[in-house]
């Protein structure tokens, strides 16, 4: 998952790892095992990754995730073993294609004091507009973003790369220009699953959904 590590040759370590007990038989079962893994993840983790670690079918993981999410939200608990639960200070969310624990936003003021590096600084209007253009036009060259915004965007693009919200994702085969796209961190910061979940642009563009037609025509 992480780009900063390389696969060890043959995944030997994982293969040799002793099987361990069947999670289903442990107290708390699959949901508890999922919870345990979620406690150590550093970025959203997919149901498939969880199923691999737990060695159970992915359907069971999905079931457990849905159940946990409801539990943390305080909805469920009508089963034979569990009663209704209290809404928790922890939220289980599906963002950027995976699952991760977050603190609930009501407690931001309290929690913020314990987070060392704080949340990153807010983006300027210029950075937000540039980010929006890149998000909806990706993969896109800087010159195109610049044409849409009507100003030079070089330094804003640099800032966004540095903040990890966008990255160069490809090279234009014709011009050789670097093409930018948004990162998983962008999705996470926005709390959405994929780029397809971005709000629709069309309500803001009466009759001009087919933007490609004209923004390819640079002047």
């Amino acid at each position: 998952m992480s780009e900063h590590t390389e696969k060890p040759p043959g995944d030997a370590a994982a293969a040799e790892e002793p099987q361990g007990p069947d999670v289903d038989s442990l107290p708390g079962g699959v949901p508890a095992a999922v919870e345990a893994v979620l406690l150590v993840v550093e970025e959203p983790v997919t149901d498939l990754e969880l199923a691999t670690a737990l060695q159970v079918p992915v359907d069971k993981v999905r079931e457990a995730l849905a159940e946990l999410k409801d539990e943390y939200d305080g909805y469920t608990g009508q089963g034979p073993d569990t009663g209704p639960t209290r809404r928790r200070g922890i939220e289980l969310r599906n963002v950027a294609g995976g699952w991760r624990f977050y603190t609930r936003s009501e407690f931001a003021a309290v929690v913020g004091r314990f987070v060392l590096d704080g949340q990153s600084a807010r983006l300027s209007q210029a950075a937000l507009e540039t980010l929006a253009v890149i998000a909806y036009r990706q993969p896109v060259a800087r010159s195109r973003v610049s044409a849409i915004r009507g100003v030079n965007v070089d330094s804003v693009v640099r800032t966004l790369v540095q903040r990890g919200l966008i990255s160069d994702v490809a090279t234009d085969p014709e011009t050789g220009a670097v093409l930018y796209g948004t990162t998983p961190l962008f999705l996470e910061r926005l709390g959405i699953g994929t780029v397809a979940d971005l709000p629709k642009l069309s309500p803001h563009l009466p009759g001009l959904e087919n933007l490609q037609d004209f923004d390819d025509t640079t002047y």
Partner: protein, 308 residues
């Protein structure tokens, strides 16, 4: 549809400039780029493609550029030239309006009309992104109230990590450091395509050409004045030149009907007139020879945006 589109729904970009003590000022905190300015001008005049307000906007825009020059060191030429790109497009627009309607078989007419459509499409698009950006900002702020868990692994798991194989000598490592610490050139993200652009067109030169023609022949239509123009840019430059000459009161202009033929008449008789007098706003010998920058890529130097 067009009208609705210009309704600056809840987000009227405040007019960035105000006349104050005879000097032009730009409130930088509100200013975020040329399109922003254009949008604000347009919403102020509730611009409609077929309305005369377009001329007002154009004039006002030219006023901006003049004021920029007048303000001297407060504004970089970069900014002014970026405005000029927009101004040129606006002038395309205005010029398009001046061409006889119904006679669009002329390729140039079509080009001008397309330029108009292009500009409005661009403005609409920009406005859409502005609104979306606001939504994203709100969303990001809301999300910032949630903190993901991000703590070190429990020691028992950290200890399970495979032992690091390290084959690097101190000098290998220093080489990596040298490379990583090297000041990076701004990434050459685009192949230079400057050579593909039409050369810069000087308003002064064009003024000289049409000025002489008008002095010789007295009355000419805009069409006649531009029939030898080999590019859209020349047409634009000549139009700019006409505006300047009009300001200098050496010509009069007459248009019987909206979109009708524009007739230009030399009104200065034998009076001494030289194109040199009109040039300051557009030709800045000391700084930049590009009079009408053709493409955004030409813009160089730092970021000219006013952050926030």
């Amino acid at each position: 549809m067009a009208q609705d589109a210009y309704d600056d729904g809840g987000a009227p970009a405040a007019l960035p400039g105000t006349e104050k003590a005879g000097r032009f000022e730009v409130r930088l905190e509100n200013f975020n780029g040329p399109f922003d300015l254009l949008l604000s001008l347009i919403s102020k005049h509730e611009l409609n493609i077929t309305e005369i307000a377009l001329a007002k906007v154009t004039d006002e825009f030219i006023g901006y550029i003049r004021a920029f020059s007048a303000a001297g060191d407060s504004f970089s030429l970069d900014e002014a030239s970026e405005f000029l790109v927009i101004a040129a497009t606006l002038l395309d627009l205005k010029a398009a309006r001046l061409l006889p309607s119904g006679e669009v078989e002329d390729e140039e007419d079509i080009a001008l009309l397309e330029a108009r459509d292009l500009l409005f499409a661009r403005l609409l698009q920009y406005k859409a992104f502005k609104e979306i950006a606001r939504q994203l900002g709100t969303r990001l702020a809301e999300e910032a109230a949630r903190f993901p868990r991000q703590v070190a692994l429990e020691p028992q798991f950290a200890a399970m990590m495979p032992e690091l194989t390290w084959r690097m000598s101190p000098s290998d490592f220093a080489a990596v450091a040298a490379k990583a610490l090297e000041p990076r050139e701004p990434a050459p993200t685009e192949v230079g395509i400057g050579h593909l652009h039409a050369p810069a067109v000087s308003v002064r030169e064009q003024a000289d050409i049409i000025g002489r023609r008008l002095q010789e022949q007295g009355v000419l239509s805009f069409r006649q004045l531009t029939d030898d123009a080999d590019s859209l840019l020349v047409v634009v430059a000549r139009f700019l030149a006409l505006l300047e000459m009009f300001r200098d009161m050496v010509i009069t202009m007459d248009q019987a009907a909206p979109l009708g033929e524009l007739t230009v008449r030399w009104s200065a008789g034998e009076r001494e007139w030289s194109a040199v007098s009109i040039s300051e706003e557009y030709d800045r010998d000391d700084q930049d020879q590009a009079v009408l920058p053709v493409a955004e890529e030409d813009a160089e130097g730092g970021d000219r945006e006013r952050a926030h």
